[in-house]
């Protein structure tokens, strides 16, 4: 009977799913921030420093992100000329954790470390993140080259682009000797 085939199909799919769930692991953590730091600094990550978000710097950061920041400082690892920033930004519903290496005012590397959104996961792949390599900011605090998007991942693409701009702006502030603490 047709009805039975329809229901049998659903039952088979449900059983397959239960099997897949039982084999499934944790979701979304592609690399821990600690592992990313160890990789960038060849296993010898320096102690973090904290850049104080004084009013002018905070205003610039919030202009880039388009929303208020809930922190007083931004931690980074490096020597002001080559720094690592571990930053979070929400794409659609949930924060995406990104590791960004800045060097000499340009992005050396951008990597998605933890992705919690239900869609747009394509942004974690190098075919997308490689677009950020070697980019710097122009005078309007925008990336000097446009980033090609991914269909169906528009909000995740926008979140990563904002974080790239933020990391470059903070890199410039650290290089200018903005107040830091250890």
């Amino acid at each position: 009977m047709r009805i039975h085939r329809w229901r049998a199909g659903l039952c088979c799919a449900a059983l397959l799913t239960l099997g897949a769930v039982s084999l499934a692991g944790a979701t979304g953590v592609y690399q821990t921030p600690e592992a990313f730091l160890a990789e960038v600094f060849n296993g010898a990550a320096p102690a973090p420093q904290a850049l104080w978000l004084l009013p002018e710097l905070r205003a610039q950061a919030e202009q880039i992100l388009g929303h208020p920041l809930d922190r007083l400082r931004v931690r980074y690892w490096g020597n002001s000329d080559r720094n690592v920033w571990i930053l979070d930004e929400i794409g659609r519903d949930q924060p995406i954790t990104v590791g960004i290496v800045t060097s000499g005012g340009r992005i050396e590397q951008l990597r998605v470390l933890i992705f919690r959104e239900s869609r747009g996961w394509e942004v974690r792949h190098p075919f997308f993140t490689d677009q950020f390599r070697d980019l710097s900011l122009n005078e309007r605090q925008e990336l000097e080259e446009p980033i090609d998007g991914i269909s169906g991942a528009t909000l995740s693409v926008a979140a990563l682009t904002r974080l790239a701009r933020l990391a470059l702006m903070l890199h410039g502030a650290a290089a200018r000797g903005q107040p830091v603490s250890r």
Partner: protein, 434 residues
Amino acid sequence: MRPIAATLLCLSLLLTASVPVRAAVTPSLEEMWQLVQAQQKTIAELQTRLARAEGQVQETVSQVEATADAVEQVAATSTSVATAKNRTSVGGYGELHYNNLDDDRDGVGGDDSLSRADLHRFIIYLGHEFNDRLRFFSELEVEHALVAGDGSSAGEVEMEQAWLELDLNNNHHLRAGLDVLPVGIINVTHEPNTFYGVERNKVESEIIPTTWWEAGLALRGEIAPGWSYDAVLHSGLTAPTAGDDPYRPRSGRLKVSEADDQDAAFTGRVRYTGIPGLEVGASGQYQRDYTGTADDIDIDATLFEAHADWKHRSGFGLRALYARWDLGEDGAVDPGAVNANNLAGWYVEPAWRFRLPGDVLGEIGVFARYSEWDERNRLPAPDFRYEEFEQFMVGLNWWPHPDVAFKLDVQWENADRSVDQTLDGINLGFGYRF
């Protein structure tokens, strides 16, 4: 008094006055020792004060850092609390249209020109994250603004999505419920700021009956970087075999509203997005009984669709899509009798999007689209049949914000044979999402 005499008098007065002063600033050895002792004492006191001040500064720095830590901790905690509360998310989109279209075939079946304003769609999204792996999403829509209780209005209230999704792992996800089918471009992503043209294009309205949702179970995910898939077992269409629009896919949507029990349909899609800016996709669907199981007619149907959507960083864009239904027959019930055994359509849409000067005006996009598709001629039997239509459209979108689009387009339609309606004219509208 002469100047010279006055000068001499002043000098003598100064010399006289300086003698006791010099005597006062030249201390004795004893006085020098006492002075050194006093200064040494002062220096020691200052050093003590400096050390104390340095300690206080260090203590203040520590207190500030501790305060900052505490403030950030509180902020993080409150954010976590907010995030927990905000696991329920709200969004939506909507679009208002004005059509001024002239029926070019008013000699057949009367004048079907359109001149109307319509709040075509108003949609609310409601989603909830139960945890990091399980989520719910829904889309509730009001179409055409008014839903009269007596059925006299064109409006509808519809649930277009209501599904639960479980992450199986990083790459694979299970989705169950009522969901839009992964076919074409606009059926999946139909927010008005994402496409050109006031109305959705005819190929994705008539051949792929956008917006097309069914109840089912889906497995979706990624098989390689840039390669994603969807496999959906779902309820199918129940297309009519008689009346005004037999075999029309759009008229077969039951919208999961007390839908008759049916043979399951299957839809699969493969999509490539491995080159930023480019999406290439193909989907296929099989339905064992296109007319539903409530009748005694068994007509199977397959749908094939392929598309490309390219947005280059220069602003140039190109969309192209092809879709085709192949309908079977069951004895005397033959879609081929009205030219409906193959229903196909395609379009190609080049576009160019650019930024306007300054930071306020946003972006403009201009486009042209050529479409061909098979559609009913709207004539009564025995003249009813499906004919090939074509449409040429040019227009523009203005995005003052990426999520808001104002639209204008001009269209010209044609059909080779006798049909009731081809529409030429302009469309105006705006749409938003949030």
